[in-house]
């Protein structure tokens, strides 16, 4: 057994080393969510999404003074459209000849986001940390749902709550007796371990059972002797899968075709002052995803990507800054079977020297925090490199700091 631990330890050490040397698993064919951070090779642990413009200005003022800004703004949320908002409108539902369809251009209205980053960072080849700032924008340009998928989305977002008489009446009672909203997935996940939640729900269940107005219901359902604990269990057993189904409907029912675009620009201050001369990095991305579905959780994705980068964050041995620019274009086939993904991608890089990337990868999501990933192939080899990686990607909530 001891040997197994040693081998596993060595294996993961090698994996971490390999991940630092090659980026075989990090080429993002899906939409570029925050181009400002992508250009700075950063993944902030927490993005600030201001509640309003006043909160944004306070955040930016603080951020500029301590060199730590990671903010994303979706203008849709701040614009008063002067019309009644509904979830269906947000999703782009419209009617034509009495039939529902989803506006394929709704993303241009709802999915715009701007990202802004400002931090100190040490880049490869540089000595010491440099101040860098980045700004980017992204949107979904086009997303097409065919008739059957439109119907599925419509079904998934209509009548999404509990249906049984007992759950309906208990939920109503809970909403009236407390000032709390109905339970969401957080409550569903925590209930079994949280004494506080158990007490909160079971106290209401006790009142519900003892309330004379509910006696006839309990008698009719032949459950006069139901305990508060069982009543809450019954309710959550019905409520929680329905919450899960509605909440995840955009992920479970994907558009047939989706095209995303992103653009970003970042500056590196050559000296440790904002008014110093700068080096610049520019990037733009266009990604397309055609999703062929086999069942509710299995898809074959056909991705295509075009990416242009003009990178001025380079310095030679004599300390002279220089630019490199390149185009990446190619595609990826990915089979998504619930939590298991199997893919192959090929990318051609043209510009300062023609290179390619040919990689097969595999991943399995163990839970929300841990995904095991593996890859095999060639990653833009300068020499004829061959990279094999098996490792673990994981993520934890590490607190309030925007950048590590």
């Amino acid at each position: 057994m001891k040997h197994i631990y040693i081998i596993l330890g060595l294996f993961f050490s090698i994996s971490v080393f390999a991940q630092e040397k090659a980026s075989i698993n990090d080429f993002n064919f899906e939409s570029v969510t925050n181009p400002a951070f992508v250009l700075l090779d950063e993944t902030p642990t927490q993005l600030h999404t201001p509640e309003n413009l006043k909160s944004l200005s306070v955040y930016l003022a603080n951020g500029f003074s301590n060199t730590n800004i990671a903010v994303e703004i979706n203008p849709y949320w701040y614009i008063d459209f002067d019309e009644k908002r509904t979830y269906k409108k947000y999703r782009g539902f419209k009617e034509r000849d009495g039939e529902e369809y989803i506006d394929p251009l709704i993303g241009l209205k709802t999915d715009w986001s701007f990202s802004l980053a400002y931090l100190e960072k040490e880049f490869e080849g540089f000595t010491g940390e440099k101040r860098v700032a980045g700004i980017g924008a992204r949107t979904t340009i086009f997303k097409f749902y065919n008739k059957s998928r439109t119907k599925e989305v419509s079904k998934a977002i209509t009548k999404t709550g509990v249906e049984s008489e007992l759950s309906t009446e208990f939920e109503l009672y809970y909403v009236l007796e407390t000032d709390n909203p109905k339970p969401g997935s957080g409550t569903c996940k925590s209930y079994a371990e949280s004494i506080e939640l158990q007490v909160q729900f079971q106290d209401v269940a006790k009142l519900f059972i003892e309330d004379e107005e509910n006696t006839s219901l309990l008698q009719r359902l032949n459950i006069e002797n139901i305990t508060p604990e069982k009543l809450v269990e019954y309710y959550l057993a019905e409520r929680c899968p329905k919450v899960e189904s509605f909440v995840n409907n955009p992920k479970n029912i994907k558009p047939n075709i989706r095209i995303d675009g992103a653009i970003g620009y970042s500056v590196l201050f050559k000296e440790a002052e904002i008014n110093a001369s700068t080096a610049n990095r520019f990037g733009s991305w266009l990604t397309a995803d055609a999703a062929v579905r086999f069942n509710s959780s299995s898809y074959l994705h056909i991705y295509a990507i075009g990416k242009f980068v003009d990178d001025g964050f380079n310095i030679d041995e004599e300390g002279v800054y220089f630019n490199e620019s390149f185009w990446d274009y190619g595609g990826k086939l990915e089979l998504e079977l619930n939590k298991f993904k199997l893919g192959y991608e090929y990318l051609k890089r043209s510009g300062d020297g023609d290179r390619f990337r040919s990689v097969g990868n595999i991943s399995y999501q163990i839970n929300e925090d841990i995904t095991v990933t593996g890859g095999f192939g060639k990653d833009f080899p300068v020499d004829n490199n061959l990279v094999t990686i098996l490792g673990i990607n994981w993520g934890f909530d590490l607190g309030e700091k925007a950048f590590e």
């Binding site: 509904t86 999404t160 909440v247």
Partner: protein, 141 residues
């Protein structure tokens, strides 16, 4: 608490609720209307809520019932999806509800985040749900 004054006659009080939100109304009973006593909120009577031709929620209350239970409490429940969840706070702040009370003369009320923050319950950070609660006292003259 806001007050709606109306004549104590034989007409019914018609309450119309018009929610505006990017979040989904969390059914069933996404809009609940009850009347309750001033001194004891648990002495309450639930009112039937229907959806009218314009797609808004409507409840009709007998004015005679408002003598004993003059407080109208309207609860509207919402839920956001996984894509919206990172912006839940902003969606809560953008959620507005208009209320129309018609007991012979029409008076409008509203819930807006800037001016009625205490009427919103954002719920837990881990939950996708939130609710808005409006209380209006009916004064029969």
């Amino acid at each position: 608490m806001e007050i709606y004054s109306t004549k104590n006659d034989s007409k019914n009080l018609v309450i119309t609720v018009i929610p505006s939100s990017d979040a989904k109304l969390d059914d069933p009973n996404e809009v609940i209307v009850i009347i309750h006593q001033k001194e004891d909120a648990r002495r309450r009577k639930r009112q039937a809520v229907t959806i009218n031709a314009e797609g808004n929620y409507e409840a009709e209350v007998l004015k005679s019932k408002l003598v004993e239970k003059p407080i109208v409490k309207i609860i509207t429940s919402f839920i956001v999806d996984a894509n919206q969840f990172p912006n839940k706070d902003i969606i809560v702040a953008q959620t507005e509800i208009d209320y129309s009370f018609n007991g012979g003369q029409v008076q409008g009320f509203e819930t807006k985040y800037d001016t009625h923050k205490d009427e919103y319950n954002k719920g837990s950070d881990a939950d996708e749900t939130f609710r808005v609660t409006k209380r209006i006292e009916v004064l029969l003259t």
